[in-house]
C-alpha cells in the first residue's frame, strides 16, 4: 500500500485569492481548540476588520451555527463572515486548510491567556456592559436554537479600543463545551470528559456567564491551578459559586446575579427572565439551596468516606476496576437499603443494575465495566455515562470519537464500540428513566450508527460512525494530512494529484477513505461489500476499485482524471496479464490503453467490464481445460495398439464378415434363380 500524501493544489481558490492570511502574525487571543487565529487582509474590500481562523481538521465545527450567523449575524457576538479552503505555508510546508474569516473585535480580550485583566474593566463595567452584552448575544443564540458553551473571560472582547461595548467570542469552531475548564462548566456537564460534554442547554450558558463574571470580578483565572478531584469536592459540598471564589463574597447586585446564574441546581439557576429582572432592579434576591444528593450513611471507597451520590459515582467512574472489586465484595441490595433509606430498590431495578457478587475467579471481566456503569447511572441519573474510565454524554460522542481518532486512541474507540450496544444503552435508560430523559432522547439517534460501530467491514466500523456523526469533518486519512477533503469531488481531485506523484494502488483499503466515501456517497454499500470480499484478491480488487471510482466520477459529473485513470489502468495490468485468453487479453489491453488517455473512468468501465471479463475468462478457461482433458483421454485411448482379438475389432470384423456372406449369398441366389 502506497503511503503517498496528497499534494496541495497548485492554484489558490477564489476565497484564497480574496483573503491573505498572514501566518507570521498569529492572534493568540482568538485561537481556540478548533483552530489558530491569524491576521488577515481582504484584498477586495478594505475597511472591515477581520481575523482568520485556520481550522484544525480533527475538531468538528458547528456548521449549523455558521449557516445561521453568516445569513443573519448576531450583535455582540463574533460572527463568521466567510469561509473556504486556502493554501497556507506553515513552517515552510504548504498545506490546504479550511479558513473562516470572522469580524474582529479590536478592543482586546477582557482577560488575556496569561490571566491579566484588561485595565478598562471595572465592577460597574461588568455590571452594566459586560453582563448586558453577553446576555444579548446568548439569548439571541438561544432563540435560534443554539447554545454557546464557550463563554470564558478570555473569549469576551471589547468591540473597539475606545468603546465600552463588549462582544462575545465565536462558538462555531468547536463542539459545545469542548475542552472547557472543569470549573467553568455547569455541574452535571462538567463531570463528563472535556471532549464529550454534549450540547447541554441554555442554563449551562448562564452558568458559564456567571463563572466568567466571577473570574473577571476577582481578576483571576479561577479555573487554573486546581485539580479536578478537589474542585469537584468543593463544588459539591459548598456549591460552585463558593468553590470557585474560594470563599470570597461578591458584594452587591453583581454578587446576587453571579450567585443566581451559578446555582448548581438547574431548576434554581437564573435564566434570561431573572437576569432582565435583575437589570431592572425588580428581581428579588433568590436564595439558592443545595438539593440533597447525600446518602443516609457514608460509603468508604478507596479509603475515602463519601456521602454524596455524585461524588461516589464519579469516584467509581475514575477507577472502574476498584469499583468493580468493591461492588462485588458487598451485598448490593443491603448496601442500597442502608445507604439510600428514602429510596426503594425494586426487584426490577436491582435486576437491571445486576451487581454480581465475586465469583472468586479474580480479575475484572468485560461485563464488570458495564456493571460499574449501571451503578454510576443509578447513583447519578443526571450524570454522564461512565464506562472504562471514560465519562461522556451520548450527544457528546461525536466530538469524543473525533478526538479519539485524532490521537489514534484505539482504547477509547474500542470502549465506545462496547458502549454502542443497544441493550446496554436501553438498560442505562431504564435505570435513569424516572429522573432523566437524556439517554432516551439519544437512543433513536444512535441506533443508526450502532449497526456500523462493531463492523470490521470496509466502509463501516467506527470510522463510518465518525463521519456519519460529524458530516462536516474532513477525511482524516494520513494520505490527506496536507489537504482538506470535505467532499467526494475534493477527494477525487486529491487522488488525481496523488496519482501524479505516486501510486494509488489499494487506496480503497484505507479505512478512513472508505468510510468517508460510504458516508458522503449514497448507495455505495453494494460496492463496498464487493470490495471487502475481494480484499485478498488483488486483481479483482483493482478491477472493482476502477468500477468504484467510475461510479464516483459519474455521480459527481467530474472532469477527466487522466492520472488517476492511468494509475488505475496500471493497477489492472496484473489482472489483464492473468486473463488466459490471448484474444481477450489483447482486446482488453487495447481498450484500456485507449481509455487511459481520455481520463474518463466511467467510459472506460463501461467499455471494459473487467470484472465480467475476468469471470467469463475463468469460466471459459475451465471449460477449455475440461475439453483438453477429454481430448487427452480420447487420444490416450486411440493411441493404444488395436489387435484382432479386441472385442471392438472382433465385433466390427464379424459384422463385416456377416455382410460379405449375406451379399455373396444374395448374389449366388440371383445367379441361380434368374
Amino acid at each position: 500500500m502506497s503511503g503517498e500524501n496528497a499534494p496541495v493544489p497548485d492554484s489558490q481558490s477564489a476565497f484564497g485569492d480574496r483573503f491573505e492570511v498572514v501566518t507570521s502574525q498569529p492572534l493568540a487571543e482568538f485561537s481556540t481548540y478548533g483552530g489558530d487565529a491569524y491576521t488577515v487582509n481582504d484584498k477586495e474590500k478594505s475597511g472591515g476588520e477581520y481575523y482568520a481562523l485556520v481550522h484544525n481538521p480533527t475538531v468538528p465545527v458547528r456548521n449549523e451555527i455558521y449557516k445561521s450567523l453568516t445569513g443573519k449575524p448576531i450583535a455582540n457576538l463574533v460572527c463568521p463572515v466567510d469561509r473556504g479552503l486556502m493554501n497556507l505555508v506553515f513552517d515552510g510546508r504548504k498545506r490546504q486548510r479550511l479558513v473562516t474569516i470572522f469580524s474582529r473585535p479590536s478592543g482586546g480580550a477582557l482577560m488575556d491567556n496569561s490571566g491579566n485583566l484588561n485595565p478598562r474593566i471595572t465592577a460597574s463595567h461588568l455590571r452594566q456592559n459586560v453582563t448586558l452584552s453577553v446576555l444579548k448575544s446568548i439569548t439571541s443564540l438561544h432563540k435560534r436554537g443554539f447554545v454557546h458553551r464557550s463563554i470564558m473571560p478570555t473569549n469576551i472582547y471589547f468591540a473597539s479600543p475606545n468603546s465600552d461595548e463588549v462582544v462575545l467570542g465565536e462558538c462555531y469552531s468547536m463542539p459545545p463545551g469542548y475542552m472547557q475548564p472543569f470549573a467553568m462548566e455547569a455541574l452535571p456537564l462538567a463531570l463528563a470528559d472535556p471532549t464529550s460534554r454534549g450540547a447541554g442547554d441554555a442554563s449551562a450558558d448562564y452558568f458559564q456567564m456567571g463563572a466568567a463574571l466571577q473570574a473577571l470580578y476577582f481578576g483571576e483565572q479561577l479555573w487554573n491551578g486546581r485539580d479536578r478531584g478537589s474542585t469537584l469536592m468543593a463544588r459539591v459540598n459548598q456549591g460552585s459559586f463558593w468553590a470557585l471564589s474560594g470563599g470570597r463574597e461578591v458584594p452587591g447586585a453583581l454578587g446576587a446575579l453571579i450567585r443566581g446564574v451559578m446555582a448548581d441546581e438547574v431548576d434554581e439557576r437564573w435564566g434570561a427572565e431573572e437576569v432582565l429582572d435583575w437589570f431592572e432592579g425588580v428581581g428579588k434576591p433568590k436564595r439558592t439551596t443545595m438539593r440533597t444528593w447525600a446518602m443516609s450513611r457514608p460509603t468508604t471507597f478507596k479509603g475515602v468516606a463519601v456521602v454524596d451520590r455524585r461524588l461516589l459515582a464519579d469516584a467509581f467512574a475514575r477507577d472502574p476496576k476498584e469499583a468493580a472489586a468493591f461492588l462485588k465484595s458487598i451485598d448490593f441490595s443491603s448496601w442500597v437499603q442502608l445507604s439510600f433509606r428514602d429510596e426503594v430498590l425494586s426487584e426490577r431495578l436491582e435486576n437491571m443494575i445486576n451487581v454480581k457478587p465475586d465469583s472468586g475467579f479474580g480479575g475484572v471481566r468485560a461485563d464488570d465495566y458495564k456493571m460499574v456503569a449501571r451503578v454510576c447511572m443509578f447513583l447519578h441519573p443526571h450524570g454522564p455515562v461512565n464506562y472504562k474510565g471514560y465519562s461522556f454524554y451520548l450527544d457528546g460522542l461525536s466530538s469524543m470519537i473525533a478526538e479519539a481518532f485524532s490521537r489514534d486512541d484505539r482504547e477509547a474507540i474500542s470502549a465506545i464500540v462496547e458502549v454502542m450496544d443497544i441493550k446496554f444503552l436501553q438498560t442505562l435508560n431504564d435505570i435513569c428513566d424516572p429522573h432523566s430523559k437524556v439517554i432516551d432522547q439519544q437512543i433513536p439517534y444512535l441506533r443508526k450508527f450502532i449497526e456500523h460501530a462493531s463492523s470490521k467491514q470496509l466502509g463501516r466500523g467506527m470510522e463510518r460512525v465518525l463521519y456519519e456523526m460529524n458530516s462536516i469533518l474532513p477525511c482524516l486519512s494520513q494520505r490527506f494530512s496536507n489537504v482538506w477533503i470535505g467532499s467526494i469531488i475534493q477527494l477525487m481531485r486529491a487522488l488525481e494529484r496523488i496519482a501524479i506523484i505516486g501510486a494509488t494502488r489499494n487506496i480503497l483499503l484505507d479505512r478512513h477513505l472508505a468510510a468517508f466515501c460510504a458516508t458522503h456517497g449514497t448507495d455505495l454499500e453494494r460496492e463496498f461489500n464487493a470490495l471487502a470480499t475481494a480484499q485478498h484478491n488483488p486483481s479483482k480488487f483493482n478491477s472493482l476499485s476502477m468500477d468504484f471510482f467510475g461510479i464516483l466520477q459519474k455521480r459527481c459529473n467530474m472532469e477527466p482524471l487522466p492520472h488517476l485513470t492511468g494509475k488505475l489502468v496500471d493497477g489492472l495490468s496484473s489482472a489483464v496479464k492473468e486473463l488466459k485468453n490471448k484474444k481477450r487479453r489483447e482486446r482488453v489491453q487495447g481498450l484500456l490503453e485507449k481509455g487511459k488517455k481520455g481520463g474518463d473512468i466511467t467510459k472506460l468501465t463501461s467499455e471494459v467490464n473487467m470484472v465480467r471479463a475476468q469471470v467469463e475468462d475463468a469460466r471459459e478457461f475451465a471449460q477449455a481445460r475440461t475439453l483438453i482433458a477429454r481430448l487427452e483421454r480420447e487420444r490416450t485411448k486411440l493411441s493404444r495398439k488395436i489387435s484382432p482379438s479386441d472385442p471392438d475389432a472382433q465385433l466390427k470384423g464379424m459384422k463385416g464378415a456377416r455382410l460379405v456372406a449375406f451379399v455373396s449369398g444374395l448374389l449366388i441366389s440371383f445367379l441361380t434363380f434368374f
Partner: protein, 171 residues
C-alpha cells in the same frame, strides 16, 4: 485363536446365454419347405449340417454373428443345387452322394469360417487407420486451444507423474 479363513462372498453372476432364434427359424423354414417338397427340405438339411453343428456346439462371444455368417455362406453353397432337386426330385440321392457337391455345400461353410477369421483382422487395420486420423484431429484441436489459452490450459505439469527411472521406490 485360529482364524477362520472365510472365502470372500462373491456373488456369481450367471453368464447370460446368447439367445439365438436360429433353431426355431431353421426348423420352421425347413418344415415349410418340406411341406412343398420334402426332397428340397432334405437337401437343405443335409447341406446345412456344418451350420447345424455350429448352432449346437458354438460357444463364446459373438456366437450369433458367427452363426449368421456361417449360415449365409453355407446357404450360398446349398442354393445352387435346389433348382436341380426341385425340377428332378429323383436326383436327390445322386446329388447328395456326389463328393464334389458335398465339397461345394460344406466347403461354402468353411468360407464362412474363413470370413469370421479374416473379418476382425481387416477391421483392426481399418480401425487403426481411423484412430490415426482422429488423433491428428485431436492434436489440431489441442493446438488451437493451447494457442488461444496458453500452455496453462494443459494443466499443472508438476502434477504429471515423473518418469519411471526417477520415481522413488516405495518401501
Amino acid at each position: 485363536m485360529a482364524k477362520k479363513n472365510k472365502a470372500p462372498l462373491v456373488r456369481k453372476r450367471r453368464q447370460r446365454q446368447e439367445v439365438s432364434a436360429f433353431g426355431p427359424l431353421f426348423f420352421t423354414g425347413l418344415a415349410a419347405v418340406g411341406f412343398i417338397s420334402w426332397q428340397v427340405a432334405v437337401l437343405v438339411a443335409f447341406g446345412l449340417v456344418p451350420t447345424i453343428v455350429l448352432a449346437f456346439t458354438g460357444k463364446g462371444s459373438n456366437k450369433s454373428l458367427r452363426l449368421q455368417c456361417v449360415t449365409f455362406a453355407n446357404l450360398s453353397g446349398v442354393i445352387a443345387f435346389i433348382p436341380q432337386v426341385w425340377s428332378r426330385p429323383s436326383q436327390l440321392e445322386a446329388i447328395m452322394t456326389d463328393p464334389i457337391n458335398l465339397v461345394m455345400m460344406w466347403g461354402s461353410a468353411s468360407i464362412g469360417y474363413m470370413l469370421i477369421y479374416v473379418g476382425p483382422i481387416v477391421a483392426t487395420h481399418i480401425l487403426q487407420g481411423m484412430a490415426q486420423d482422429k488423433i491428428k484431429q485431436i492434436a489440431q484441436q489441442r493446438q488451437t486451444l493451447v494457442e488461444a489459452w496458453g500452455p496453462d490450459v494443459l494443466g499443472d505439469k508438476e502434477q504429471e507423474p515423473a518418469p519411471n527411472h526417477i520415481r522413488l521406490k516405495k518401501s
